[in-house]
């Protein structure tokens, strides 16, 4: 007898819990939090797009500056090469002079 009543209480409690769960799930408590999550996602997506855009702009700027730098570098390197060549020519053309113990062929004097 006691076990029969106990069993009924158990079944009733199980049914109660089942319906309570059913109600809880039916209320879809995650729906509100899901909509909040979507707004963040949108913001994140927008931010990502903005960053991608800015990154592309920076890449273009860097590429342009690199090209300008390379042009200037090549120009400067050619200037340095020309200056070195001119210096080498000047050194090659520079007069050589030394004091010797020889009779002079001609003499300089105040002009």
């Amino acid at each position: 007898m006691t076990s029969h009543v106990g069993r009924l209480y158990s079944i009733a409690a199980a049914l109660f819990i089942f319906f309570l769960t059913w109600v809880a799930i039916g209320a879809r408590p995650w729906a509100a939090s899901s909509s909040t999550k979507d707004a963040r996602l949108v913001a994140l997506t927008q931010r990502e797009q903005r960053l991608r855009h800015e990154s592309a702009a920076v890449q273009r700027l860097v590429k342009h500056r690199w090209a300008v730098y390379h042009t200037q570098l090549r120009k400067r390197q050619s200037q340095i090469a020309a200056a070195k060549q001119a210096q080498a020519q000047a050194v090659a053309a520079a007069p050589s002079v030394r004091v010797v113990n020889l009779p002079p062929l001609t003499t300089t004097r105040t002009s």
Partner: protein, 281 residues
Amino acid sequence: MESRQFRAMGTDVELLVDAAGAGEALAAAEGEFHRLEAILTRFRPESELSRLNEAGSLDAGPDLLEVVRLALEARGRTDGRFDPTVHDAVVAAGYDRTFDEVPEDGTAVIVGSVCGGSVRIDGTRIELDPGVRLDLGGIGKGYAAARAAKLLSVAGPALVNAGGDIATAGGSWPVGVQTADGELTLELSGGGLATSGRDRRRWRRNGEELHHLIDPATGAPSPSDVLRLTLVAPDAVEAEVWAKALYLAGADEAAREADMRGLPCVLVTADGRTRLAGGLG
């Protein structure tokens, strides 16, 4: 070795060629001296330089144009110590005719003239500021010597000595340089050599000894403590320019600058000392 001596530009010119059969080249080189003298002298009223000084502007020929251009470049390089606008200062000091005709003594009043006026070159036209006149005596002989040496070089290694301003083209040349107590010999291979000093072109006015080396800063003969300075440079024009610029600097500064610029030079000071500088010592 063939040689020729003649007189041009108010000085003795000597041409040397280390080759046989150089008669034609020697004649061409002498002709070049006389041709350039006729253009660059300030003592002939018909010369291109005199006409420029008279008119203040002139469509110049290539030689006057080139020498004026070189002189203006030299003025910039030497911070104005070499200056072709010293004409009036030289004349005021008494050097108003060829040196052979300048009286040794006189009573003329010396006035320091302003130097450094503007000279403009526009194409073939040279324009002087009002009152500016040019004296190319400090560069003309070097220019002529370099031109003559180039003409001689077709015959063989050559040296041109225009009253102490020397240009070479090939070969090695022992050149005598006067020191305070004698002479030393420099072996010169390439380039040019010049001597500036106040031991030759000098005269007296009102009892004061004057000379032709005008300091453009004062417009008067320089009181430098250098008596004579001989300098070697890549060409005769450079040698002439720097010999004068370093002369004006004074002995100590000249030696320091010669060392710094690597210009071999022999300095003889007024108190009778000889100094070698610019890597020569």
